[in-house]
Amino acid sequence: MQDARLYSLSAIFQTPDEIAHAAEQTVERGYTAFDVHSPYPLHGMPRAMGLKASKLGYVTLVFGLSGAALALFFMWWVNVIEYPLVIGGKPLFQLPAFIPVTFEVTVLMAAIFTVVGMLFVIFRFPNTSHQLHDTPYMKAVSSDKYGLTIQALDPLFDEERVREFLQDLGAVEIHRIQFDAEEIEARPRIFEPRFVTLLILVALLVGPSTYIILNHVLYMPPFDWMMEQQKINPQMKSELFADGFGMRSPVEGTVARGHLPYPFKGQPDLAGKFLVNPILPTESVLELGKKKYDTFCSPCHGNFGDGDSRLRGQFPNPPTLHSDKSRGWSDGMIFHVVTEGQNIMPSYASQIKERDRWAVVHYVRALLRAKHATEADLR
């Protein structure tokens, strides 16, 4: 029975010719779990060891082609779909101008994934605690010797016979390489106090420093950002005025353009008497009125002014607009109610512009007339 802790028998050879011969003999004997170690790649060794040709090129091919396709697709998406900009009168999809970036991305993807695939997938690196590491054998083959290792897990492995075989091949030294008992039993020690302390320290360092950099350092000179400008924004304090307000009120006794106050405040009768609809009920005006009515009025008054609220009792229903009382109102009176509100209806002056309010009046008139059409209207 084998020693369970034995990893391999590893022999050291002096010359490249000897190791090439040894590799061939090992294959001939039928060993499969073996390896040749040398400080530099030896010509013809893969053939002597009976290795199949490296398939790494396929990794490169797949990732290179996907890089090309990805780059081309991405540029098409950006320049044609997402952010189309006509430059120099040329078509949006300009294949010649996309070639440089396509090429660069192809090379980048192919190179990165070839190396990543080789090191981390094929070689399963990083692996810094292999049984061969730190042995006199590894020190010799990393300098100027050539080594042949036959692993104990080989089905044909028999320590005595392998030792004899290696000696016959002309090995100058034979090393018994064993698994490290401590290492076999070792468990990952992530909860070790020292490691946990390190993690906490790193967190304590990284957290606050990230906060300070992102919120303070980046806003100190010389960094300047377009959103951070030396001007007074609304609600900001001003050093210039005695009252310290950044926002100023208009000069006393003046009125800004388009901000004339409503002259019939609290006087519905006068409004009904003197206000006249200044716009004509054209098709576009009625459409505008319908849009505003549907948005602002219909939730309570219903789609056709019947007072059938769409709010399903969440707010008291207003009376119908088709009553005789309201049908008798003048345009000015309706405008006044929309502007000032009535009973529990609030003012819509700030939500609907003046002209739009007049359009709503036209639309309400059309609604009233539609429900109470006379024979003359049919003509």
Binding site: Y40, F98, E104, A110, N127, H130, K139, D144, P221
Partner: protein
């Protein structure tokens, strides 16, 4: 007259040193304490770096108005230096990738150092477009990413191609370099006696075991990377030249630019590698690994690329005359006879005249002579970029909008700083990593490979 047998390749490494002596020669300087000369060198380069840092600080605080650029010359030293440094980098990739594909085994001795130079030169180069934007903290917008503004970059712009080309070039060069270093780190790991170094090298070598099952994939990966790096290096300077050639400025809008730029890049890069290696082989006492034959071969490449550049200078003039385009004709008269004529003639003499001395074998193999010529070539190649960038911009179509460019003291400070950065990184590199690829050199020593026919 001695007879040379050209059918036999001369040995790449002089003599037949035992393999372990190669380890010693290359690793000893890393393990030894730095010498006084090294400290003096890093003090000088560090000072240069600080001059650059101070100039940059002034630029960041007060803006790019501190530089000499203004209308109409909006591209000054920043772009000149960018093109210069990218060019320096190209020699490294040429040596490591193109000469690898051409099976030039002599490259093994110089490839590692040249690759390191590539990476450092591209770092210096990459700095300039970033600071040239004026507000470098906004450079993130150069990359396409989904942002809250809904903005995307314009993929038809040569400046965007440049971003992709230079960043890809840097990444692939760094990968290539690191893949080459892995076996050497493993050798260092197995040799070192220092505990800290052991940990560092173990991590860097990723656990490399010199296994031939690995070497097989490794060689394939190296071949693939070389195969990609070759068109990549040609594409990078081609795209850099597009920054100029795709515009419609007279003197820039020419189809000769891509090959002309690539040849110039290799030319200046080889001059820089040659200059640096002359020092390294002397200080490290590795004259048997980086031999005088290496330097001679590099000088031969310099004379070749130098003549390509000279041909391009001539051809630009010919086309300016042959096209009958008056703006184009004027630009070239202006270059040779205008206010920047001194820069133009410096460029011609340094790049075309002096390298002709390499026709003489004595000069090709004389270290002081080749060193001086190498320095002159780099001066000339820097002025080439200056001539291209500045003369064309300062006098284009409209005489009423002509101007004259004078660099400010901060421009010069940043140029000095870029050299400081380059030399500082190089000095740190030669003190911390093997400057010659240990595993590759071992593989080309005579008798290192199994004799053919014997065993298979």
């Amino acid at each position: 007259m001695s007879f040379v047998d050209y059918s036999v390749e001369p040995p790449v490494v002089e003599g037949k040193p035992p393999l372990s002596s190669i380890d010693d020669a290359i690793i000893k300087p890393i393990d030894a304490k730095p010498t006084k000369a090294w400290f003096v060198a890093i003090a000088v380069s560090g000072t240069m770096l600080l001059i650059g840092a101070a100039s940059l600080a002034v630029t960041f605080i007060f803006g790019v108005g501190m530089w000499g650029v203004n209308q109409p010359v909006g591209w000054g030293f920043d772009i000149v230096n960018f093109v210069f440094w990218v060019g320096i980098g190209h020699a490294g990739t040429l040596i490591s990738a193109i000469l690898f594909l051409l099976r030039q085994r002599w490259r093994t001795g110089i490839a590692r150092f040249a690759e390191a130079m590539t990476i450092f030169a591209v770092m210096c180069a990459g700095l300039f477009p970033l600071i040239h934007t004026g507000r470098p903290w906004l450079d993130g917008y150069l990359m396409p990413y989904p942002n809250q503004h809904g903005l995307w970059i314009n993929f038809t712009s040569p400046l965007v191609w440049d971003v992709f080309a230079v960043s890809t070039y840097f990444t692939v060069s760094a990968i290539f370099w690191y893949v080459g270093l892995i076996p050497d780190f493993a050798t260092l790991r197995d040799r070192t006696v220092s505990r800290i170094k052991k940990i560092v090298y173990s991590i860097l070598s990723l656990g490399w075991r010199h296994s031939n099952r690995h070497w097989q994939h490794y060689e394939m990966a190296y071949l693939i990377l070389a195969g990609f790096a070759t068109p990549l290096v040609l594409s990078v300077h081609t795209i850099v030249s597009f920054d100029f050639a795709v515009s419609i400025i007279p003197g820039w809008h020419t189809t000769i630019f891509p090959p002309y730029f690539v040849a110039g890049a290799v030319f200046s890069g080889f001059a820089m590698v040659q200059n640096m290696l002359i020092g390294i082989r002397k200080i490290y006492a590795i004259e048997h690994i980086i031999t005088i034959d290496h330097l001679e071969k590099m000088n031969k490449i310099m004379i070749t690329t130098g003549m390509m550049v000279g041909y391009a200078y001539g051809m630009e003039f010919f086309i300016a005359w042959y096209s009958g385009n008056s703006a184009e004709t004027f630009v070239f008269f202006n270059r040779a006879l205008g206010p920047y004529a001194w820069a133009y003639w410096t460029m011609v003499i340094c790049n075309v005249v002096f390298p002709q001395l390499f026709w003489f074998k004595k000069i090709r193999r004389s270290i002081p002579a080749m060193f001086v010529i190498g320095v002159l070539v780099n001066v000339g190649m820097w002025f080439e970029r200056f001539v291209i960038v500045v003369t064309s911009l300062s006098r284009d179509y409209l005489p009423s909008s002509w101007g004259f460019y004078v660099p400010s003291i901060y421009d010069i400070g940043i140029l000095i700083g870029s050299f400081g950065l380059f030399f500082t990184l190089l000095l740190l590199f030669v003190k911390s990593m093997p400057v010659v690829s240990i595993s590759e050199v071992k593989g080309v020593v005579e008798g290192a490979q199994p004799s053919h026919g014997g065993s298979h």
